[in-house]
């Protein structure tokens, strides 16, 4: 099949950028979108041009590295898939497709399609963990977790931190990411001791980098793991609860 790619080229963080059009002829429809870029880069290198920089790693939708705004949608038109899982057969033969990097103040462009998502690390450092002694694994069922709770926590833990929620959000908010990080801990017994300290820490850190959630619901549709905005409601609710809880008596900070 044939595709025309309009790819955002930008030499460096502060360099000006522009769209460059590449005609891809006779590519296999069984290729993934990243493989299309491999082919493109091979051709560019063959012509002695600079290949397109883009992030990728696992190529099976679990690492969250790949990040492209494809035809105005984060990770392209397919729902519930990352860019690496988008097959060309899902696209229309002969189409012209614009490919852009994520755009957000918290995700500065490094080069071409690669953006720096270290802001997500800052958020996780602020509260996306539990304080627990590490060491050998504990015995199974030592802490009882109902199957339903484990499933709900797993739905949130499916977040691969790709940043599609921020990219898709008209406000550039990272609420879905933060809500996922918050929920997968707070739905489990291990997350309870720091629950209210965590929610405040996460919300405040998130807002240093990203916009505010106005409930467009765009993130939920863009998320390759289809994480629900129900988790955002949980985050909002617990943030207000954290204001009212007597945290001194729950043994939590502040």
């Amino acid at each position: 099949m044939d595709l025309n790619l309009k790819v955002w080229r930008q030499a460096g963080p502060d360099a000006p950028g522009r769209f460059e059009t590449y005609a891809m002829r006779g590519v296999s429809e069984d290729m993934s979108f990243l493989e299309l870029f491999d082919v493109l880069n091979e051709q560019l290198e063959g012509r002695g041009e600079e290949p397109v920089a883009f992030d990728h790693d696992c190529r099976e939708g679990i690492c969250g590295s790949c990040a492209m705004m494809i035809g105005g949608r984060a990770h392209g038109p397919e729902t519930g898939t990352a860019t690496c899982q988008l097959h060309l057969r899902k696209l229309v033969d002969g189409d012209t497709i614009a490919v852009e990097p994520w755009r957000a103040a918290g995700f500065p462009i490094i080069k071409d399609l690669a953006v720096d998502r270290a802001a997500f690390d800052r958020i996780v450092e602020a509260g996306g963990y539990i304080t627990a002694p590490t060491g050998s694994a504990r015995d199974a069922n030592e802490i009882l977790v109902p199957k339903e709770a484990a499933d709900a926590a797993m739905d949130a833990a499916a977040c691969i931190g790709c940043g599609a929620c921020v990219a898709a959000c008209p406000n550039g908010a990272a609420q879905l990411f933060t809500a996922a990080k918050y929920s997968h801990l707070s739905l489990l017994p291990q997350g309870q001791p720091e629950r209210y300290t965590r929610v405040v820490a996460l919300v405040e850190e998130t807002e240093r980098w990203f916009g505010s959630c106005t409930n467009h619901g765009e993130c939920e549709k863009a998320c390759p793991k289809e994480i629900s905005i129900d988790f955002i409601a949980l985050l909002n609710r617990d943030y207000v609860k954290a204001q009212l809880k007597n945290r001194a008596l729950t043994g939590q900070k502040r």
Binding site: W8, M69, R103, N171, E218, A233, N236, Y239
Partner: protein, 262 residues
């Protein structure tokens, strides 16, 4: 729990080699000073402001509904309508002196409007800063609808309309036929002017769109989310918006077309 301030990110730009610097371009977190007082601290976050927007929005929804119900008395005739207007002033008597409760409600309403608008303005600024460079290709929205994406504009239209509405029917400066204490005739005289009727109709359409998103969004911001009720939230918002639109638009429409007269 660790504070971000304790996390050393100082070596991100300086000292690191080129690859490292490129990889961690984000740099250290911007130190944000948050106020100490719990109320101000809550307000300092966007989640806090959205909570305030939701609650003030809820209050405004209540007002809009009550205002419409009261004004539909227009169809029962002059004496009913004027009686209702008087009753608003008498409300709370004899426990409270005349008009005190009305003024209390007005002050509450002004506070709700004020908070709603200030929070909206501040959140808009935050969101503009969060994406300084827009997407350069066409965005293909999936979930964000016309109502949710025009909240800013419908909000501004409604706010300007409220000022006009007060000047028209409360203070009277936008209504040459205004007679203090004669609300029924004032309303009819005002709506009989075609441009004014159009202003009312357009503003109420904007209000309906605003409510269509706001009355749903409010539940999310307050964290009122339960799969058992989630579908109802959408119906609630849609129905509320439709009722307000039909009720409020019917009045200028029926007056300007001559169905309802003095």
């Amino acid at each position: 729990m660790t504070h971000t301030q304790e996390v050393s990110t100082a070596d991100h730009r300086g000292g690191a080699d080129d690859a490292d610097r490129l990889a961690r371009y984000t740099g250290p977190p911007i130190p944000v000073r948050r106020p100490r007082h719990p109320v101000l601290r809550f307000w300092s976050t966007a989640v806090g402001k959205k909570w305030v927007m939701a609650l003030s929005g809820l209050a405004l929804l209540g007002f809009v509904l009550a205002h419409m119900v009261g004004n539909l008395k227009l169809y029962l005739g002059e004496s009913h309508f004027n009686e209702y207007a008087e009753w608003l002033r008498d409300l709370g008597e004899p426990a409270l002196p005349r008009t005190v409760l009305l003024w209390g409600m007005r002050l509450g309403l002004i506070a709700a409007f004020g908070l709603h608008i200030v929070a909206a303005a501040q959140l808009t600024r935050i969101n503009h800063k969060a994406r300084p460079v827009q997407y350069q290709s066409h965005r293909d929205y999936v979930a964000a609808n016309f109502a949710s994406r025009t909240m800013r504009w419908t909000g501004v239209i409604v706010a300007l309309f409220v000022l006009f509405h007060l000047a028209d029917l409360t203070w009277g400066n936008a209504n040459p036929d205004f007679v203090p204490g004669d609300p029924y005739d004032n309303v009819i005289a005002s709506f009989q002017r075609v441009p004014v009727a159009i202003i009312y109709i357009v503003a109420n359409l904007a209000l309906a769109f605003h409510i269509f998103h706001g009355a749903w969004s409010m539940f999310q911001s307050l964290g009122w989310n339960n799969p058992r009720w989630n579908a109802v939230r959408r119906y609630f918002a849609a129905t509320f918006a439709a009722v307000i639109a039909i009720g409020n638009i019917s009045m200028p429409l029926l007056v300007v077309t001559g169905v309802v007269t003095k």
